[in-house]
């Protein structure tokens, strides 16, 4: 009974995902497509729960749908005037048919490959579980991210820093060092101000909660950082706070601190535990938590600043 219900749920969910994705890609108006993408992200969150991947579900809810959706919604609104001109550039019907055929065959090939995957599936779950006690953690995903494959995570934080540098590098020279985003006056919308005052305390609590349980339960720094970033963006949008100028030393130190601490712990490991990014026996958990604590503000700042965009003005509020 329960299994049948679950399968029913899965089928319904899968159909919804497919319908919303198709509509999002095919609809005429880009702003509508961006709204569709937000809905699509919400549905994917449910899919990740069904795939027994709660850590990913949290990340998808926070980043995939939440912050990416914001980015796309904002860009679609800015670019509305260019929609009509782009329409004319669409390839002809025959061309689209050929492309559709090509994409369908790619899909078919991938689907075939997935269905042909061996059974029982090869897995690292037992090894990840067996090694878990030595990390002192209870969440195997966190152990993968910060111990077994810590190099990926370290470099990924560098990716975020590089993306931020890339976005900043797009600033016109005359406003270099200035504030990102447009100037927003405070008290423009009373409701918005109210929301931006009310939600962040909740957000900070939730972020701390997610961060804290991340060592042993689904959650962790990425998810917590995204929620913090979202709260900061909210306050910026409401005009409560201004995005800081990118030349501020403290801002740069916050962005850099996380990866820097990560690297430092890595080198500490090569001195004390025999390998770069290894943790000395018994000190794994505190060191991992130290890394995560340093990463949390760095990631939050980087994510929020990525959404805010390149420096655009020198005048502050």
């Amino acid at each position: 009974m329960t299994a049948a219900l679950a399968l029913l749920f899965d089928f319904g969910l899968a159909a919804l995902v497919l319908i919303v994705a198709t509509w999002t890609l095919m609809t005429r108006e880009t702003a509508a497509a961006a709204v569709g993408f937000v809905a699509y992200g919400l549905l994917l969150t449910l899919v990740w729960v069904r795939l027994a991947a709660p850590d990913v579900a949290l990340t998808e809810a926070a980043i995939g749908s939440g912050v990416t959706g914001t980015l796309l919604l904002g860009a679609a609104a800015r670019l509305r005037s260019t929609e009509a001109a782009a329409e004319a550039e669409q390839p002809g019907r025959a061309m689209r048919f050929v492309v559709a055929l090509l994409c369908a065959s790619v899909s078919a090939g991938i689907a075939g490959a997935i269905l042909m995957l061996p059974d029982p599936a090869p897995t690292l779950a037992p090894q990840a579980m067996a090694a878990l006690p030595s990390t002192g953690l209870g969440n195997a995903v966190t152990a993968v991210l910060l111990s077994y494959r810590a190099i990926d995570t370290l470099l990924e934080t560098v990716v975020l820093v590089l993306a931020l540098l890339g976005v900043w590098s797009l600033a016109p020279d005359r406003v270099w060092g200035g504030h990102p985003g447009p100037l927003i006056s405070s008290n423009q919308e009373r409701v918005l101000t109210f929301l931006a005052q009310l939600l962040p305390p909740f957000g900070i609590l939730v972020a701390i909660h997610l961060f804290w349980i991340g060592a042993d339960a689904p959650g962790g720094k990425f998810q917590a950082a995204t929620i913090l970033a979202a709260m900061w963006i909210l306050a910026q949008r409401a005009g409560l706070v201004d995005a800081p100028p990118v030349s501020r030393r403290w801002l740069r130190l916050v962005v850099v601190a996380g990866p820097a601490v990560f690297l430092a712990v890595g080198f500490f490991g090569s001195a004390t535990a025999g390998a770069f990014l290894a943790y000395p026996e018994g000190y794994a958990k505190p060191l991992i938590i130290a890394i995560e604590a340093a990463l949390l503000p760095s990631l939050a700042a980087a994510l929020a600043l990525l959404v805010a965009g390149p420096p655009a003005r020198t005048e502050s509020r």
Partner: protein, 97 residues
Amino acid sequence: MTLALDILTVVAVSAGAFFFLAGTVGLLRFPDSLSRLHALTKADNLGLGLIVLGLLPRAGGVLGALKLIAVWAIAQFASAAVTQLLARAARTAEPPA
């Protein structure tokens, strides 16, 4: 006692589900954006509220219950504000005929 709590769960969750249904029907059937928004608010407030109420006895501990209440509270405040914002956006999108 457990039976009473179970009954509470069943009743509240069913009522909550009903309000979700009502909200959805309203969202689909109502003629203009503002009345649709009204329907949405019903689902948001009452639907989620009743489900949270129904699940409270099964939350398993104070922290669990607190989390449930937090979900409801956040959704509540957010939806109140968002509804106003969306209403304003809807009014500017389609001015009254």
